[in-house]
Subunit: 195 residues, 2 copies
DNA sequence: AACAGGTGTTTTACTCGTAAAAAACTTCTC
DNA sequence: GAGAAGTTTTTTACGAGTAAAACACCTGTT
């Protein structure tokens, strides 16, 4: 979340008139980001804090989600990256090579190698070598692996549902739409942009 | 981003009638999350993927932001957690104890200890012991530390601005508002909820 | 005053991710 | 075909975070 946004990111007051924005629904509890933004502005009065209020909140939300979702997974003896890997195999429905798994889970090849080693030892995935190209491996879920994923998934979704229960269906749809637009742009851009 | 959401999180179609949703159109740039949601639904037709589309996108956006923002920081020789720590000192404007820094940056005490060690060696922060209670330390920015933060901050904000430039000011405000509401609830809830 | 219990900070042991190099192959080119 | 160049996966070395224990110190009670 970058010191820029610290723990919190201001509500409403984004430069746009609050008129349209769901702005400060916030009757009861302002979020942590608001305070951080306030502090930055007190120190650097000229600052344009608009981006900070979006990015800071996204980062903070992500951190809270991760923390929350780790718990149900831990009960199943899995870490999030492990579940990501198993989930990729489950949702694609077919075998994947380590490289494909790396792409699919946004992690490095080395990390995938290590996770596969552990998951194989636990009997959740199996591997077989490619017959044509002996460099590549094909990884698939075992029955136990598939059952584990299918067992976790519903409770995971139920948990996510509970976490978002504060939002009405309209807000949820709005958020999904806005985030989808943002994400499409980020994904299209960040690969091409000189970082 | 949990295997649940994998790399991408579907657009629209959040449980709300598709009428409004950007659904699958897929014209130019669908985001990665959409494909993952589609895959999950193909495998588990009954699934309520609404929450996934929000949480998956938030997680993915956060990952992309972090990756993008790391670059400018690296140029200054700092990691994000280090910058978070310095930023906390800068924006509060006064000394903080290690525990306060841990709270402020959402990290563990042990992590703060290690970072302080490095930042002290680099001459960016200083520490002094409390005179009344000799357990506690007080940490403050050195001149070099303050200058470093102030030097990085504008470029960091400019960078964030560029990254979000695809959004109109209205959308940006809407997003900030919705996220603020969500975050306020998460922060109010997740501490009290039985995880 | 002594001690039980609490708090602030650091240390220890360990896990996990990463970048870079190494291995093991394949494919292209001459 | 032999060797250069590229690919897929694994290994190695290391940096960074965490949980739990250890330290160091304070405070309230008796």
């Amino acid at each position: 979340m970058t010191a820029t946004q610290g723990p919190s990111a201001g509500d409403g007051d984004t430069g746009t008139p609050d008129t349209s924005s769901t702005a400060d629904t916030s009757a009861p509890g302002r979020d942590t980001v608001a305070e951080v933004v306030r502090q930055w502005r007190a120190v650097h009065p000229g600052l344009d804090t608009g981006p900070m209020e979006v990015i800071g909140r996204i980062n903070r939300c992500a951190a809270l989600f991760q923390q929350a979702e780790d718990a149900p997974l831990r009960r199943a003896g899995l870490t999030r990256p492990e579940f990501d890997l198993l989930g990729a195999l489950r949702r694609t429905g077919h075998e994947l090579t380590p490289s494909e798994l790396a792409r699919e889970t946004f992690s490095s090849g080395a990390a995938v190698t290590k996770r596969l080693k552990q998951l194989t030892e636990r009997g959740l995935v199996e591997r077989r070598g490619d017959t044509r190209d002996r460099r590549v491996a094909h990884v698939r879920l075992t029955d136990a692996g598939r059952e584990l994923v299918d067992g976790i998934l519903p409770s995971q979704l139920a948990y996510e549902n509970a976490v978002l229960s504060g939002l009405g269906p309209g807000e949820l749809g709005d958020l999904a739409g806005l985030l989808g637009g943002l994400l499409a742009q980020l994904e299209g851009r960040l690969t091409a942009v000189r970082v």
